[in-house]
Every structure is written in C-alpha cells, then in structure tokens.
Amino acid sequence: MHDTRRTVLKGIWSVGALATAVGAGLLSPGRAFAAWNKGAFEAKSAIDAMKALGVANAEDSKAIEIRAPEIAENGAVVPIDITSNIPGTTAIAVFIEKNPFPYTGSFDFSQGAVPYVHLRVKIGESSPVRVVVTAGGKHYMTAKEVKVTIGGCGG
C-alpha cells in the first residue's frame, strides 16, 4: 500500500492536494504519508479494499503472527495483537472480511518502531481477520478466523 502512497505523493497534482489537506488542518505537517484512503475504507469487500490500497498481490506468509480469540466474548470489542517477523516491515493493514466495510486500518512503523500493534475492533459476525504486511516494497498476508457468539444477560 505504501507503493500506492509513494506513487500518489510523486504525482504532481496530488502534492498540491496534500498541501491543501495540510493547510486545511486535515493532516498534521509531521505526517509524511498519504491521506486517509477513502476508496479503500469504503470498499465493501476485502479484495476491493486491497486493490484500492495496491496490496492485492500479497503472498501467504507464516512470519506474521495474529493473536486473537478463537471465540470472541463480545464482537463489539475483539482484541487483536499483530506481530510481523518479516525483516524491513513498514506497514500492517487489517481487513475483517465479513464486516460491511472490511478494511479496518493500516499501521505504519518508522524510526525504530517495532512492527507490532494491538488494537480492538468490532466484528459483526464470525469472520476471517486478514492481515497484509508491507516489507521492502512487497506484500505478505495471513488470516485468522474469529468466531462471534451470542452472550447471556450477565457481565
């Protein structure tokens, strides 16, 4: 996806668009990456979102660890830990395939940040959680199924 971002940044018109966005306060000046990818976030399928991000050609990798519950106690708050053991990892993107808008977020690491992130997400129904890692301009992926159940009255 960072390929896409870099491409966007290199394009003449988009530099102007970015400057406008910075000027409008939508982006902090310290943020060196492209704007929030509306097309990817509004895609209704994971594959369309991946295409919009330019990561649709990812290859399977065992070097990505996803720690998430097999059965989530509550789909409103599902904890996910992601670690990439692929050298040179610069970004991790998360897709919850069965959600209405599968693309959930991208996390970029620079200046010593370890390619690890913990986040908590809403999962509407049992779904694979797919993770795409960007490293050295290439994309790698893996997935883990999370089941969502009906709870009781308690808590």
């Binding site: 808008f101 620079s110 010593g112 940040a113 908590r120 809403k122």
Partner: protein, 107 residues
C-alpha cells in the same frame, strides 16, 4: 472538547511499550438513538505518535475500531524520560493531543 487520552509508556530493555486509551464514541453510522434516528458516523481516522519529535507510528483506521479505542505499539531505542506525543483526528475534524514520558519498568 474531547476528553484526555491516557497514555502509558514503559521501558522494557531499550523498547518502549506504549499503550494508549482514547475517549471516543466511534459511531458506525448504523446505530439508531432512543428516538429511532440514525446516529451519524463519528470516528477517529488518523493517529500519529512521535518520540522526541520524530514520527514513529502512524495509523489510519475505520469506524470498526471499538468505542473508546485502545492501541499499543513498541518503539526500539527509547530511554527513560523520552517524550511521547500522540494525536488523533476524527472525521469531523476534531483533534486531541496528549503526551507522556517514557518510564523505566516498575517506576
């Protein structure tokens, strides 16, 4: 104005374990209020974290992140006393910045 974040940055060796709690409704735009009216989309879109002024962690996220978001990440090469500054921006243009210092484990 948005409520403050709660940020914890603890040193484990030379890696700072940064954990942040944010107060935000993360509305999906699909929920109805008591009167049956759709509550409009309202969610954090971007998060930026800096260590001593250098951007180390950037996130673009969707409304699928849980209400009152929790994130954690790790930064290598940090030391006690380093400054961590985190900023989020939501889809309505609201913004919140908070900071903390990296602490040695157990202090």
């Amino acid at each position: 104005m948005a409520d403050p974040m709660k940020i914890r940055a603890t040193l484990q060796g030379d890696v700072a374990d940064v954990r942040v709690l944010m107060a935000h409704p993360m509305e999906t735009g699909q929920r109805k209020d008591a009167a049956g009216k759709i509550v409009p989309l309202h969610f954090i879109q971007t998060i930026t974290a800096q260590l001593n002024g250098k951007t180390v962690f950037n996130a673009d996220v969707s409304q699928a992140v849980s209400r009152n978001p929790v994130f954690a990440f790790k930064v290598k090469g940090a030391k006690a006393g380093d400054k961590i500054v985190i900023t989020w921006t939501d889809n309505k243009g609201e913004k919140r910045t908070d900071e903390t210092v990296v602490r040695a484990a157990g202090s």
